[in-house]
C-alpha cells in the first residue's frame, strides 16, 4: 500500500513516515502543497495524508485540485486547529476523514487502514481470503490460524493483492504500489516475490491463491470472507 504524506513540519513528517514504513507501508513524504499536488497527480496512491496548513498551496486547495482532476483515493486530513468549521471545510473539499493534532500514531494507522479498506470494499479490520488472514495493524499474516513469516516486500505485495482480491493487477501496478518513488525497481523481482509467496502460502500446492494471467498480471483468486 503506497501512501502520500504532505506535512510541512519536518519532525512530524519524518516521525510519521518512519512509523508508517515500520508498518510495512510504502511512503512518499513531501513538505509543501505544490510538490504534494504534483506527486498526488503523478503517482498511484492508495491513501493520502494531507496537513491543512501547508506552504505554497493550502491543504484544502491540494484536495480540491486532486478531486477535480478525478483522483478518488481516500484522503485523511491533519489539522492543528480542531475547529469544526475547518473540519467541515476539509471534508467538503473532498477529504474522507480528519485527525486533530496531536494524535497517537495508533489512531493515524487505524484511520489509514480503515480508509484503504473502505476504498477497496472491505468491511472488517482484518482482511480474510479463504484460509489466509492479514492484519494490517500488526502486519501479521496467518494461514489456517498459524502465523506465516513474510519479508517486508512479500508482505506489501500480499497486502495489495488482498486489498484488491478478485481484481487483475498488472506487474507495473504492483511495482508502483510497493516501491517508493526514488527506490530502484525491477519488475522481474515481482515474479520472484510472487513465486516465494506462493511457496509460503500454499506449501502443498492445493490452494493456488495467486493466479497468473499471462501478459496481464496477477489475481488473488480466493473469495473474500
Amino acid at each position: 500500500m503506497r501512501i502520500l504524506l504532505i506535512e510541512d513540519e519536518i519532525a512530524l513528517r519524518e516521525q510519521i513516515a518512519q512509523q508508517l514504513r515500520a508498518q510495512n507501508l510504502t511512503v512518499d513524504a513531501v513538505a509543501d502543497g505544490e510538490e504534494g499536488l504534483f506527486m498526488g497527480s503523478e503517482y498511484p496512491y492508495d491513501v493520502a495524508i494531507i496537513d491543512l496548513g501547508l506552504p505554497r498551496l493550502s491543504g484544502i486547495e491540494v484536495i480540491q485540485q486532486l478531486r477535480e482532476q478525478g483522483f478518488k483515493y481516500p484522503i485523511l486530513i491533519l489539522t492543528a486547529r480542531g475547529r469544526w468549521q475547518d473540519k467541515v471545510e476539509g471534508l467538503e473539499a473532498g477529504a474522507d476523514d480528519y485527525l486533530v493534532k496531536p494524535f497517537h500514531f495508533e489512531e493515524l494507522s487505524a484511520r489509514l487502514n480503515a480508509l484503504a479498506r473502505r476504498a477497496s470494499g472491505w468491511a472488517n479490520a482484518t482482511l480474510r481470503c479463504g484460509p489466509i488472514e492479514l492484519n494490517p495493524s500488526s502486519q501479521q499474516v496467518f494461514l489456517q490460524q498459524s502465523i506465516v513469516e513474510l519479508t517486508a516486500y512479500e508482505y506489501r505485495l500480499l497486502h495489495f493483492l488482498m486489498l484488491h482480491a478478485g481484481e487483475v493487477i498488472s506487474k507495473t501496478e504492483l511495482t508502483d504500489h510497493i516501491y517508493e518513488m526514488d527506490q530502484d525497481r525491477d519488475s522481474n523481482v515481482i515474479e520472484v516475490f510472487v513465486k516465494r509467496l506462493r511457496g509460503k502460502l500454499d506449501p502443498d500446492k492445493s490452494l493456488n491463491p495467486i493466479e497468473t494471467l499471462r501478459g496481464r498480471g496477477y489475481r488473488l483468486t480466493l473469495p473474500r470472507d
Binding site: G82, R83, W84, Q85, K87, V88, L91, E92, D96, D97, Y98, V100, P102, A114, R118, A123
Partner: protein
C-alpha cells in the same frame, strides 16, 4: 456660506429690478409732464406759443427744483419753465411728430439730467404747420437718491435677515448636535477608562446608535473577560498535570510506569489546551452578528459525519424549520452543533434525530440518538462539569464542556433527557432577538 451667497445674489437681483422699475417710472413721469405741458400750451394763429404763467406742477416754477421744461422750435428756445432759467437743456432738434426720445444729458456745470424730448407738429387754422420739441428733464440725482435709499433699506433688511438666519442656524446645529458632542465625550470617557459604556441620556434618533455601540462594548467586554478567564484557567489547570509529572519524574523508579503516567498527563494537558483555546475563541452573543442558517450548518456537518462514520451507516432524520436563522458567529454554531452531532454519531447505533424549531425569538435544538444513553444521574454532572473542565469525563467529556461554554456565551440552556430512541436526547434553547 451658501446662505450668504444666496442673500447676496438676491440683493443684486432685487437692486437691478428696482433700478429698472425706477427708470421706467421716471420715463412715465416725464411723459406725464410732457402731456401736462401739451395741454397747457396754446397756439396762436401766427404759430406762436402761449404758455400759462404757472403750470400745474409746482416744481416747474421753482428754480433749481430738479424738474425742468423747455420748448424749442427750430433752433430757438420758445419757452422754458421758470425752474430752468439759466440752463440750456437740450440741443434743438426735432425727433419727429409724436416721437419720444429719452436721453441722459451731462450739463457743463456737472448736473446730470434725464431728458425726454417729444416732437409735436401743430397746425393753425390756415393749415400752416409748426414744429416744436418739448423737453422735460429731471435731475438724475433724484433717481439716484431713490435707488440709494432703496439699496440702503435693502441691505439693512437682507443683512439683518442673514445674520438672524446664521445665528438661528448655528443655534439649531448646536442644539441638534449636542447629543453627539455628549456621545463623543462619553466615548472619550470610555477610552480613558472612566466609564464602561455610554451612560448619557440620548434622544430617540440616537438611541439606536448608542444602543449598538453599547452592545458592541458589552460584547467586547465579555470576550475580554472570557480571554482572561480562559488564560487564568489554563494556567491553573495546567499546574496539576505538571505537578504530577514533576513528582513522577523525581520519584518514579519504574520507567514503564513513568511512561504510562507521562502519556496520561500529556493527554490531559493537550485536552486542557484544546478546551481553553476553544473557549477563548468563542465569539458569544451579539446582535451585531449576521444571522446564520442553522439548517445549512447542520447539513454540512451531517454530510461530513456521514463520510467519517461511513462504516456505521447511521440513518439521520431532520426536521429543521426553514427560517431557523440565528444572530451568531458561524464558527461558534459549527462548534456547538459539530460536537453534539459527533457525540450522537459516536454513541448512536443506527439512528440520529435532529429537530430545530424557531419560535418566539428562541431557537430550540433537539439532538437524540439510539445509543446506550447517559445515566440521567450523571447527566447533571456531565453538563455542569463542562462549566469548569478540570478532570476528564469519560467519553462525552471535552466536546460537551465546549458545548456547555458556547451555550453560556449565548445565554442559552442545555438539558439532557432520555430519548424515546433509547439513547441521549440533548435539548438546547438559544435566545435570539
Amino acid at each position: 456660506m451658501v446662505l450668504v451667497a444666496f442673500l447676496g445674489l438676491s440683493a443684486i437681483s432685487l437692486n437691478n429690478a428696482f433700478k429698472s422699475s425706477a427708470e421706467t417710472a421716471q420715463q412715465q413721469r416725464l411723459h406725464n409732464y410732457v402731456m401736462t405741458i401739451l395741454t397747457a400750451a396754446e397756439l396762436t394763429d401766427t404759430g406762436d406759443l402761449l404758455m400759462p404763467e404757472k403750470l400745474l406742477e409746482q416744481k416747474f416754477s421753482i428754480p433749481n427744483s430738479g424738474l425742468y421744461a423747455q420748448i424749442t422750435s427750430g433752433d430757438r428756445i420758445v419757452w422754458q419753465s421758470p425752474s430752468s432759467i439759466g440752463l440750456f437743456l437740450a440741443l434743438p432738434f426735432h425727433p419727429g411728430p409724436s416721437v419720444e426720445q429719452y436721453s441722459i444729458i451731462d450739463l457743463h456745470n456737472g448736473m446730470k439730467l434725464s431728458n425726454l424730448a417729444f416732437g409735436v407738429v401743430w397746425e393753425n387754422d390756415k393749415g400752416e404747420q409748426f414744429d416744436y420739441t418739448i423737453n422735460v428733464a429731471e435731475d438724475q440725482l433724484m433717481l439716484e437718491a431713490q435707488t440709494a435709499n432703496f439699496q440702503r433699506n435693502l441691505w439693512y433688511w437682507l443683512g439683518g435677515t442673514g445674520i438672524m438666519l446664521l445665528i438661528a442656524q448655528w443655534l439649531i446645529l448646536r442644539w441638534s448636535l449636542r447629543p453627539l458632542t455628549g456621545a463623543a465625550k462619553d466615548l472619550h470617557a470610555i477610552e480613558t477608562g472612566k466609564h464602561a459604556r455610554l451612560t448619557g441620556e440620548y434622544p430617540m434618533e440616537l438611541q439606536q446608535l448608542t444602543q449598538n455601540i453599547n452592545n458592541l462594548l458589552d460584547h467586547e467586554q465579555n470576550r475580554r473577560v472570557r480571554y482572561k478567564n480562559s488564560l487564568a484557567d489554563l494556567a491553573h489547570s495546567l499546574k496539576t498535570p505538571l505537578a504530577v509529572l514533576r513528582s513522577e519524574l523525581e520519584n518514579s523508579q519504574d520507567f514503564q510506569h513513568f511512561k504510562t503516567i507521562g502519556q496520561e498527563q500529556l493527554q490531559r494537558i493537550n485536552q486542557l489546551v484544546d478546551y481553553q483555546l476553544q473557549r477563548a475563541a468563542t465569539e458569544g452573543k451579539s446582535n451585531l452578528l449576521a444571522p446564520v442558517s442553522l439548517g445549512e450548518i447542520i447539513h454540512k456537518i451531517i454530510s461530513s459525519l456521514n463520510k467519517v462514520y461511513q462504516a456505521k451507516k447511521i440513518h439521520c432524520q431532520f426536521e429543521i424549520e426553514r427560517d431557523a436563522y440565528m444572530h451568531a458567529d458561524e464558527g461558534d454554531m459549527y462548534e456547538l452543533l459539530g460536537n453534539l452531532l459527533e457525540n450522537a454519531y459516536k454513541y448512536g447505533r443506527q439512528r440520529v434525530n435532529i429537530v430545530v424549531l424557531s419560535q418566539y425569538q428562541q431557537i430550540t435544538i433537539r439532538i437524540e440518538d439510539d445509543g446506550n444513553g447517559i445515566p440521567l444521574l450523571a447527566s447533571e454532572d456531565i453538563i455542569k462539569r463542562g462549566r469548569r473542565f478540570d478532570s476528564q469525563v469519560e467519553g462525552h467529556g471535552l466536546g460537551l464542556a465546549i458545548v456547555s461554554d458556547i451555550i453560556d456565551a449565548y445565554e442559552g440552556s442545555i438539558k439532557l433527557e432520555k430519548s424515546y430512541l433509547g439513547g441521549a436526547c440533548f435539548i438546547i434553547c438559544l435566545p435570539d432577538q
